[in-house]
Subunit: 99 residues, 2 copies
């Protein structure tokens, strides 16, 4: 599996907006071919920090996500809400073993 | 959902052992009551760095994991393989919405 862990730091005044935008992105992304997980979480000790956990069957499926309308809309929507640049860290998903 | 993201830095000579120990822990953990995810991944650019993504229905289920035989065995097995102390960061899982 091809996993991207995206760390997001959001301006405090846009936390609620960001959650709404991520819900929409999540609901569309989990319907993509080759998507295994598109989980969104908020850090317990700092509500302005989020993690997007994006797991795809392979690199091509992960790349295809970047071309979807819902991703492009999300990216544009949240652009001005970032407190600092997003960081995406690539991983090889080991377990569960990809079918 | 109660999510813990655990960052692990393993001594290079124990990378393969660590993967074997994590597979066993993963296979048992996903059978726990209240467990949603117990994913294990390896950083693409640094094979000595791992992430354990542990998602539980609630805090009690997450705490119960720490009392299981498989967790205690894993903790003892990997103790000497750490290159630096593990870091677990707590999150509130937003999406998918917990049933």
């Amino acid at each position: 599996m091809h996993v991207t862990i995206v760390h997001v730091h959001v301006k405090t005044e846009h936390i609620d907006d960001f959650i709404v935008a991520c819900k929409e992105n999540h609901l569309s992304s989990i319907q993509e071919k080759g998507n295994f997980r598109f989980d969104v979480m908020q850090q317990d000790q700092d509500s302005s920090r989020f993690v997007l956990y994006e797991s795809y069957q392979n690199e091509n499926a992960a790349k295809a996500h970047k071309d979807t309308n819902h991703y492009l809309k999300w990216r544009e929507t949240v652009a001005d809400w970032m407190a600092s640049p997003r960081q995406g860290i690539l991983h090889r998903g080991l377990f569960p073993i990809s079918e």
